[in-house]
Assembly symmetry: C2
Homo-oligomer: 269 residues x 2
């Protein structure tokens, strides 16, 4: 949390840069390179490190390609070169305690992540093992940005949607040591505001701007904390696969979109 | 589903053998061996292949150790040598559609799994991408075996606990192509019976016997289908780390416990 607070301030940014390396969309020079994912992701990191409050690799893209080793190297690169920028492993794990501990080892020890996303469906003992790493964070899924998110998250429990129960559970119980944050999608600004009202200043990881179409102004106004921070607003594909303008390469294009996004966010803080 | 039906019949077994290789608990000869996890797991597979209706590697144990390559090799070994035994990748993934597709690639293409466990929290579009592999299965978390499972799964929605809504959602909507199964823990036999009543003959993956303490008789009587099958009753640690008796090695001990467990299950079918 200290690291995140410092990154918000140092880069004047609430922008989280998501790293979702889709081989088919990488610039041609990286598609033939066995280390191409590493080359691509570290170039994006270098191009955006002064504009981001966090980096968030999505492990599914690496797992599909058997590229865990490149993910290890990318995380090591980010930690070493930009130690002040929080690194979030987006893996949405959730399992019984003994297994969750293995996932915590994966996220924190193997990849050196500062925080990891987890699913709340299996309850408290699926989240507790992560808390043993007392200097790390746990970001619990609450209201996700996808359309099907409503299937469960909008079911009414005591007259309130399930996602609000999750927000309350995390804020009132699981966050005893101040290690928790929540995932709340930008595609539902009203619900973002509901969650903010429940959780006080707890940080929110907010996916769904950029390729998923969330509105930046509504997102910022609904989700900001009293201090005008409190959010990691994630954009992945819109930055990674920005179309270069004349004279730009992919990294310069990514930087341009990241800068525009950061500034658009800051307009409304 | 055909493969599972055939395995139930061929081995007269509802026992699923879970592969959770915990380095600290492996026999000493494997702890120093860089390929020790592969050696251990394939020995367990060989020792139990005529007693099991499925094998279920838990990916967390491999991910914590950076042993994905050994998991690939274990899956390839099982598929080649025992092609009639379903292989379940226990990974409990759940993410937005584009990302879920990457996880489906990981499970089905990379590891060659016949089925994969997924979390329902993110809803239909987090599960649909898996269905594109029409000859594979998707096993959705419903009522999990851990104590904290009640935190969400027992919340009342329209007078029924959430897990029953999940069971109904999967049975009535997500299972249109007959590719779905559910995870329901053995630690709650009454709830297992409730789920069986909702889902008809749908297969249930039932963890929680063995180390987690679920009662076999109650589990079988509550969860069996009309045909006396319908379940993959998982045991991992009790089999993997069986204490050898005089004259046994770890694999013989695993076989003995697997045989006892299979037969104890069959007593009550």
């Amino acid at each position: 949390m200290n690291k995140l607070n410092a990154a918000w301030a140092a880069n004047n940014s609430l922008l989280c840069v998501g790293l979702d390396p889709d081989m088919a969309r990488l610039p041609a020079q990286f598609q033939q390179d066995p280390n191409g994912i590493y080359q691509f992701c570290t170039a994006i990191i270098d191009a955006t490190a002064d504009l981001a409050c966090a980096f968030k690799p999505q492990i599914a893209y690496f797992a599909a390609l058997g590229a865990e080793r490149q993910l290890e190297d990318i995380c090591a690169y980010a930690r070493e070169k930009y130690p002040h920028i929080p690194l979030i492993l987006d893996s949405k794990r959730g399992d019984i305690g003994a297994t969750a501990k293995q996932y915590a080892r994966e996220a924190y020890d193997r990849y050196g992540a500062d925080a990891v996303t987890v699913s709340p469906y299996m309850g408290s003992d699926s989240v507790e093992p992560y808390m043993e790493w007392t200097d790390r964070g746990v970001i619990v899924l609450c209201r996700t940005s996808n359309p099907g998110g409503s299937d469960l998250q909008f079911l009414q429990v005591d007259g309130k949607p399930l996602y609000q129960h999750v927000a309350r559970l995390v804020a009132e119980k699981w966050n005893a040591n101040g290690q928790c944050a929540l995932v709340v999608g930008a595609t539902y600004p009203e619900e973002l505001a509901q969650v903010r009202a429940i959780v006080g200043d707890m940080p929110l990881l907010v996916p769904g701007v950029g390729a998923q179409g969330g509105d930046i102004e509504a997102t910022v106004k609904s989700g900001r904390s009293k201090a005008g921070t409190g959010m990691m607003i994630n954009s992945s594909r819109a930055i990674l696969y920005a179309t270069p303008q004349a004279g730009e390469d992919f990294a310069a294009a990514a930087r341009r979109v990241a800068l525009e996004t950061r500034d658009a966010i800051n307009q409304h803080r």
